[in-house]
């Protein structure tokens, strides 16, 4: 077994309207890493993430997840390894109650009812939302929706957790709670965001994406501190560093 968990090799992708969203992306992520993917709006972060569990397939290049190369036949197994939390929790939470939503994945895995309940409780406790179990999603605050979205994915016990803009539109307090939550996770994780402070807080490594290409890849502290690099990619230094 390889110790790499995600391996992108020269991945290209264009949308049906010919927008070239990824033009030759390569990187490797190993077990236990926490990686931030930063880039301005439209840089291709969401497109990249959609490739990680095979919702989109590369037009050129290849993607290896664990031991398997991503294709139509391996896709459903790969989805069990890579848990993706999408940007908009209203799309992620599609079931009528929090419990139904968190149990959706485990039930699809074919687990017994007791195991499902165990997993749901565990996942909800991890994100601190056990009490919301019987609520319908439309009665949750955005912060709670985000936390529950994460729980829906944790309940699948994936090898790696992938998140797209987890802090977008959160108020400062909910954002802080979320950052603390993410910091506690022992999971391998990939977080796409243009919230550079969050990446700096949570991730050791950072990949900068611009116009569908990897612009930089290195320790978060170094990459995010590089003012010239940030400017070139329409990003700013993290606020916490600007003050210094």
């Amino acid at each position: 077994m390889s110790h790499h968990i995600i391996d992108f090799k020269d991945v290209h992708f264009a949308y049906p309207d010919r927008t070239e969203a990824l033009s030759g992306i390569s990187f490797r992520i190993t077990h236990g890493e926490s990686v931030g993917i930063v880039g301005a709006n439209g840089a291709g972060k969401s497109t990249l993430i959609s490739h990680m569990n095979g919702y989109l397939m590369p037009a050129k290049g290849r993607i290896i997840i664990g031991d398997a190369q991503l294709d139509k036949t391996t896709r459903s197994d790969i989805r069990k390894k890579v848990g993706v939390v999408f940007q908009n929790p209203d799309d992620q939470l599609f079931m009528p109650t929090v419990f139904d939503d968190v149990s959706f994945g485990p039930l699809n895995l074919g687990l017994s009812e007791e195991r499902v309940i165990e997993r749901v409780n565990e996942a909800l406790n991890t994100v601190g939302c056990y009490d919301l179990k019987d609520k319908p999603p439309h009665r949750l605050s955005l912060g709670q929706k985000r936390a529950v979205s994460i729980a829906t994915v944790i309940a699948m016990q994936p090898d790696i957790l992938v998140m797209d803009e987890p802090a977008a539109n959160l108020d400062p307090k909910s954002r802080r709670q979320l950052i603390n939550l993410l910091k506690e996770f022992k999971h391998s994780k990939i977080i796409a965001s243009h919230d550079l402070d969050l990446i700096l807080d949570v991730c050791e490594r950072c990949i900068v994406i611009g116009a569908g290409k990897v612009r930089a890849d290195g320790p978060a502290g170094e990459v995010l501190l590089n003012e010239k690099l940030m400017k070139e990619n329409n990003l700013e230094l993290p606020l916490s560093l600007q003050r210094r």
Partner: protein
């Protein structure tokens, strides 16, 4: 005016009520659904000129309302604004059927008025029962009850999705309508063409949303089937509730309590 109806807030309010925690809310949804259905069928089965036998049936909505902590005013308001089709069609009865039927202290009452009051009574009883059913039962609860009662799964899943995204889309619609009203300064922007544009925008966003939802479902192992765990069994209390209500309904359907009472007093 291109307004977004107050209706939306009404659904929201009904939905809030349905998540209260009272004795009524805790009764098994299937039992509530079936007793409500039995109630409605019995009420509807009263013949055209029946009024007094129907009146004691008011006890069912009143008890649910009281135990379930549902504000009376809310139900009354809904009754007033609800689609008036039945009342509209019924109003022709007094016009067309003028043969007197009763005389109360010398004032004659025509059959048409009697049958019209009968329609009104049925209207009040059936509509308030439907509203109270949803006010005391969470919608997902009703859906699961339906599935257990052999309604096809695909319809149940539809209802669940519809319920889930009704609030999301209603809010999205509200944003689009507001933005539109802001830009048109309330002058234009009210006709059908504007409506088509708004609906078109909303539709495009909705389809895109459904793609994202599908995406999210797939990443959690969706294979075409929606699985849910729902292990509720009707308990002792539920069965007692069903037996008592049905017995009361049957007695009320059989005996004219109002008339018996009236006779007693007049004697």
């Amino acid at each position: 005016m291109l307004t977004f109806d107050k209706e939306y807030f009404n659904i929201g309010y009904l939905d809030t009520l349905s998540y209260k925690d009272t004795f009524m809310h805790r009764i098994d949804p299937r039992i509530k659904l079936l007793t409500s259905l039995a109630f409605i069928l019995l009420v509807i089965s009263f013949p055209k000129y029946e009024i007094s036998k129907m009146i004691p049936f008011l006890v069912f909505p009143v008890v649910i309302l009281s135990i379930g902590d549902i504000p009376l005013i809310f139900i009354l308001k809904k009754l007033l604004i609800v689609s008036p089709f039945a009342l509209f069609v019924g109003i022709f009865n007094p016009i067309l059927d003028t043969a007197p039927m009763y005389s109360i202290y010398g004032v004659g009452i025509s059959g048409g008025w009697v049958s019209y009051f009968s329609i009104i009574m049925k209207f009040i009883l059936t509509i308030s029962t439907a509203l109270l059913l949803i006010a005391t039962t969470s919608f997902p609860g009703i859906c699961i009850a339906l599935e257990k009662l052999f309604v096809p799964k695909i319809l149940v899943v539809q209802l669940l999705f519809l319920y889930r995204y009704l609030f999301v889309l209603a809010e999205e619609t509200m944003r689009i309508v507001r933005a539109r009203n802001m830009r048109t300064f309330g002058r234009k922007g009210q006709g059908m063409r504007v409506f088509i544009q708004i609906a078109g925008t909303l539709f495009v966003r909705t389809v895109e949303r459904s793609e994202r939802i599908y995406h999210a479902m797939c990443s959690r192992g969706f294979d075409g089937r929606i699985r849910m765990m729902k292990n509720f069994k009707p308990g002792f209390i539920d069965i007692i509730f069903a037996v008592v209500t049905i017995t009361v309904f049957v007695i009320l359907r059989k005996y004219d309590i109002a008339k018996i009472l009236g006779d007693l007093i007049l004697q």
